[in-house]
């Protein structure tokens, strides 16, 4: 029971008003406030708590992207992770980066670092893919506990309570395993200034996807990004008969 890998993604801050680029190739990211994906914060918190309870010895925070993602890794270090790994991806590779590429990187790192657990956020708030955790588990052929709202370590097994459409499902899986954090798993701690200071002394290792034998070529091409259509004004009707008449008139029924 030694090491946990936690993935942290740098995303546009949830409070920012998103604008689509004039060429519709994506959204404006330049000069826009970024922060750690909220579900990744929850993942980090869970990993740090497991370490505080002495179930694991070391938490490694991992992020993939250009230099700016080191800010996100440092936030994870300030929350209590022991060291970081920055997988450098930039330019076109970064723009095209998706769950499959990340999953490949995490699978390679999980093996390299001999991790017992890989904990990720259930999804990122920018692309809402909800795939990385599942793909990582599949590539490693490891069990997965996704949408976790409660995690308990029991010897060599993990009990995971999962949030599913019908309610809650409890499963028990063997380690090593991949977990993805859902909203109610925990409340992430605030980084304190002394911890941010201490985090400066923690190490962040640099590597490239090629070092892990991962090919970053994307099988997905984004054709166009548009804003959602502006919601049209509604129409009020007086009676149910009026409503039925209107619905018939516009062909809905």
């Amino acid at each position: 029971m030694s090491r946990v890998l936690v993935g942290v993604k740098r995303v546009i801050d949830y409070a920012v008003k998103i604008r689509v680029k004039p060429d519709h190739s994506g959204v404006v990211t330049d000069g826009v406030k970024h922060s750690m994906n909220p579900f990744c914060e929850i993942a980090v918190e869970e990993a740090v708590k497991l370490k505080e309870k002495k179930f694991i010895k070391e938490v490694v925070a991992v992020s993939c992207g250009p230099t700016q993602v080191t800010e996100t890794i440092r936030t994870a270090l300030a929350m209590g992770c022991d060291r970081g790994i920055h997988v450098e991806v930039s330019g076109k590779d970064y723009e095209a980066m998706g769950p499959l590429q990340i999953a490949k990187i995490f699978a390679a790192l999980a093996k390299k670092e001999e991790a017992s657990l890989v904990i990720l956020g259930k999804q990122a708030i920018d692309d809402d893919c909800n795939q990385t955790g599942q793909m990582t588990a599949a590539l490693l052929d490891w069990p997965q506990g996704t949408f976790a709202s409660e995690v308990t370590i029991d010897g060599e097994k993990v009990k995971v309570v999962r949030e599913i459409d019908g309610g809650l499902e409890t499963i028990k899986i063997s380690m090593p395993a991949v977990l993805t954090a859902d909203l109610r798993l925990n409340t992430p701690r605030y980084a304190t200034l002394p911890n941010i200071m201490k985090a400066k002394k923690k190490k962040i290792a640099n590597m490239k996807p090629a070092d892990l034998g991962v090919d970053m070529v994307s099988r997905v091409e984004v054709l166009r990004v548009d804003e959602p259509p502006t919601r049209l004004a509604g129409v009020k009707v007086e009676t149910v008969d009026d409503l039925v008449a209107k619905l018939k008139a516009n062909g809905t029924i």
Binding site: G31, Y190, L193, I196
Partner: protein
């Protein structure tokens, strides 16, 4: 023997420009400091947005216990204590940036933190011995102990030198025995460590007479004899604890003298000077927050068929608020930058920034101030800022008199030189040329060209003209009143207001120039802010200059003195009621 005084403000009183501290706009943080600060801002902002409840703190009339705990854990109580003594070790600029966040959200918490570290134990940081620092700073940094600054007494507020709390050496010579009472002490009811100022009779070496001199002491509540009164009920900053503190035969070990025996007044002034920029920083944050709310209101409220921000009256208000915030923020970071660069010469500018930030801020309240809207509370919180840490009236006198003093020295040396013209030919030639040009209405060669961005050259010229006229006015006042200028408070106030406007002009010229040079997206907007500010400030300065020369203004001063004397003598209004009863 000439030495260069770098302070822009000191030089402008002489009608001279020393741009070294104001151009270019200081950028004093290295990469590591910038990166560190960028990491600190988000968690602090998040805490104040999501956890601290200013309305609750206000209604409880204290900072919630859980919030205090979190602030302590966060390290907020030792921001400028060196890291090796348990603090965060921030520079003044970094401190200003964080204090701005606190000011934006909760001034009651701001004062609790400020009374503790900006003045409460600042003396230990500035003049404490290594032993004193090691003993006290670690616990103060974590907030395990809180600090308070104890200077004011019932009969001694602005007249700080007149305090009566007494310290007498015990017979054994190992303690000072402290007796007295202090009032309006922030954190008075919470603090464990007090910086206390007391008078001591001391032998004046020159006269052989006993004279009262003030000494600063580090006093622990645990020494015994320290008690405090109930929390004062205040209109604003209710969450901050304000109480009377009493010292009854408190034994203070002689090792706890802070600074030199008899040097307490200097220590007090050094502490207050050193912390002043923090107020401008905090208030620039407060203004930012209020402006956001005002804009939201103006952009959405519809009256007479249009959004109210389309009306000129509202546009003027929003524009003024924006300019005031721009000036305040620019002053705060210029001063903190100067301090971080090692300047020892910033006390006039610091006083100017405190006056500016706290006086005009009331312009910011055109929005509806319904109880509970948050803005109402801010309005109540702001009133004290004109009063404490040096009332604005006193600080204006300080700005004017300090400026006069230096200008006066310059004048004296000129007068001396006149007695020995041949030996001082160079100095005199320069002065004569300058005055001749002035009389002829020509520019004296003073310029900000090279410092100010070319797109701002017109505003730069306004600033230069204003400095020239200001310098002449200062000299005229000195020639007219001589040493008695000390008593001409009507004059001093107007000189100070002009100095404030002048410094403000220069500060925004510097900031806007930097934005233009760096090609910021906002540079054109900042250019308009700068130009507009300079036009109006120039007009105000020229009006003050004109008033100080005019005989009708002299008459007005005389009249005001007479009106004041009459109502004082009558105990109130003198003129009988228009109805006759």
């Amino acid at each position: 023997l000439w030495f260069v005084v770098c302070s822009f403000a000191v030089n402008m009183f002489k009608g001279q420009i020393n741009p070294s501290q104001v151009f270019p706009f200081p950028s004093v943080m290295n990469e590591e400091q910038t990166q560190f600060l960028q990491e600190l801002v988000p968690p602090v902002s998040k805490f104040f947005e999501e956890v601290n409840d200013p309305a609750k703190n206000d209604s409880l009339e204290k900072v919630e216990d859980s919030t205090m705990e979190s602030l302590k854990e966060m390290g907020a109580f030792g921001l400028q204590v060196p890291q090796d003594l348990g603090g965060v070790g921030l520079t003044n600029t970094q401190y200003a940036r964080l204090v701005e966040i606190v000011g934006q959200h909760d001034l009651g918490v701001g004062i609790t933190l400020g009374a503790h570290q900006s003045i409460g134990f600042k003396g230990i940081l500035l003049v404490g011995s290594p032993a004193q620092k090691e003993k006290y700073l670690p616990k103060l940094a974590t907030g395990e102990t809180l600090a308070a600054f104890c200077l004011t007494e019932p009969a001694s507020g602005s007249d700080a030198a007149s305090i009566k709390t007494l310290a007498t050496l015990s017979p054994c010579g190992k303690h000072y025995i402290l007796n007295g009472g202090k009032i309006w002490i922030s954190n008075g009811g919470l603090a464990e460590i007090f910086t206390v100022f007391a008078k001591m009779p001391m032998m004046d070496e020159k006269t052989g007479q006993m004279k009262d001199k003030i000494t600063a002491f580090i006093v622990e509540r645990s020494f015994g004899g320290v008690t405090h009164g109930p929390p004062e009920k205040k209109m604003g900053i209710k969450a901050s604890n304000t109480a009377e503190v009493y010292f009854e035969n408190v034994p203070v070990p002689i090792e706890n003298v802070l600074g030199e025996v008899g040097g307490g007044f200097k220590v007090a002034m050094a502490i207050l000077n050193n912390g002043r920029f923090g107020m401008a920083a905090a208030l620039s944050g407060t203004m930012k927050g209020v402006i956001t709310q005002a804009v939201d209101h103006a952009a959405n409220r519809v009256q007479f068929g249009s959004k109210i921000h389309t009306y000129g009256a509202i546009q003027e208000k929003l524009a003024r608020m924006t300019m005031l915030q721009y000036v305040t923020e620019s002053m705060a970071y210029m001063i903190s930058g100067n301090m971080d660069s090692g300047s020892k010469d910033y006390h006039i500018e610091a006083a100017i920034s405190k006056i500016f930030a706290s006086t005009d801020i009331l312009w910011l309240f055109p929005v509806v101030c319904i109880q509970g809207s948050g803005v109402e509370r801010v309005m109540r919180d702001l009133r004290i800022f004109r009063i404490f840490e040096g009332t604005n009236d006193i600080l204006r006198l300080f700005v004017a008199l300090n400026g006069f003093q230096d200008a006066g020295k310059h004048l004296k040396s000129l007068q001396k030189a006149l007695k020995n013209p041949l030996g001082n030919a160079g100095l005199l030639a320069g002065e004569i040329t300058k005055r001749a040009k002035r009389t002829a209405g020509l520019s004296t060669g003073l310029t900000l060209q090279g410092s100010v961005h070319p797109e701002l050259s017109h505003s730069g010229n306004l600033a230069v003209k204003a400095i020239e006229h200001f310098g002449v006015t200062v000299e005229d006042m000195l020639l007219k009143h001589g040493k008695n200028i000390l008593h001409e408070q009507f004059v001093l106030k107007r000189v100070a207001d002009s100095a404030i406007d002048l410094y403000a002009m220069v500060v925004v010229l510097s900031r806007a120039s930097r934005s233009l040079s760096q090609g910021h997206a906002s540079a054109q907007h900042e250019k308009i802010l700068c130009e507009t500010w300079c036009i109006e400030a120039y007009d105000r300065i020229m009006k003050n200059v004109k008033d100080l020369k005019s005989s009708s203004t002299t008459q007005v001063f005389k009249n005001m003195k007479a009106i004041s004397a009459a109502v004082v003598e009558n105990g109130g209004i003198v003129a009988p009621h228009p109805l006759g009863f």
